[in-house]
């Protein structure tokens, strides 16, 4: 407990002023808040999704093209899926970004992994959004028994 042992230790004394690299932004704080706010919404959205698709009716064995067409005929499930897509992708991408920052030590590795992450984010969100908005429940030329009943009505 003498001053000499302290001086030799590579570990800075408690509460010694840190050499903080200020980023001048609050983005990490916003990310932290977003992870929590989106988490609450995702709990409701995903549990609802899993209930409708795995528990209600015959569960997974009832899912086919007609099932999806029936759901997306209603604006409720369109908005539901759109919100779930965006929130889960932003929440998940931000979470995986944290994981990359924690484990990828070399700058080059981090750049490569994060570029791949942001590419996957963009492709998935754009594709998923387009699918919801351009969905055609009655594609011409498809056998009627695969389509929802309202196509022939």
């Amino acid at each position: 407990m003498t001053a000499t042992t302290e001086a030799r230790s590579p570990i800075p004394a408690p509460r010694s002023p840190r050499n903080r690299r200020t980023t001048r932004t609050n983005y990490e704080l916003y990310g932290w808040v977003f992870m929590r706010a989106s988490g609450v919404l995702l709990l409701v959205l995903i549990f609802g999704h899993l209930f409708m698709n795995l528990i209600d009716g015959d569960g997974i064995s009832a899912i086919d093209f007609g099932f999806v067409a029936g759901k997306w005929a209603s604006p409720l499930w369109q908005v539901w899926d759109l919100l779930m897509l965006w929130l889960a992708m932003i929440h998940g991408t931000n979470g995986v970004r944290t994981i990359i920052n924690d484990y990828a030590e070399r700058t080059g590795t981090r750049v490569v992994l994060k570029s791949a992450l942001y590419l996957a984010f963009t492709v998935t969100v754009v594709l998923g959004t387009l699918v919801i908005f351009t969905f055609d429940p009655c594609p011409p030329g498809s056998p009627a028994d695969l389509l929802p009943s309202f196509c022939t009505a």
Binding site: G39, L43, P139
Partner: protein, 126 residues
């Protein structure tokens, strides 16, 4: 980035393991979601293409995979709420360990309700 010391021996207790599990489940769900948006996108290709791929989700092996996925989500979701309570509720840090056992309890109850229902749909020969 600081250099990771070689041969670290973590000595965290429940709090550390719940954090590891939260991280692993979040990571898995993310990659499931990437694949899931792709398989759903097949509705834009043709009803036949979508039904063919979704049909593979109904075989028993995939059925067990879905059970694992739901388990991952249920744990991540309940533990996520616990993390928020630790952060925002004034008694949260004091009860973090108790709340972990509440999470485990709720997880067991939820899965006990879900698993038989799902396995019946998968193995029920529809």
């Amino acid at each position: 980035m600081p250099e990771a010391p070689a041969g670290t021996l973590y000595r965290g207790r429940e709090g550390m393991w719940s954090w590891v599990a939260h991280r692993v489940t979040g990571f898995l769900i993310f990659f499931f979601l990437l694949v899931h948006v792709l398989d759903t996108a097949l509705v834009r290709v043709s009803p036949e293409a979508y039904n063919a791929v979704i049909g593979t989700y109904k075989n028993p092996v995939m059925g067990l995979g879905e059970l694992g996925l739901v388990a991952a989500i249920v744990f991540h979701a309940f533990n996520g709420i616990r993390v928020m309570l630790v952060d925002f509720w004034k008694n949260g840090p004091r009860y973090q360990r108790v709340m972990l056992w509440v999470v485990v309890g709720l997880f067991v109850v939820t899965m006990a309700g879900f698993a038989p229902r799902h396995l019946m749909n998968v193995f029920g020969g529809h």
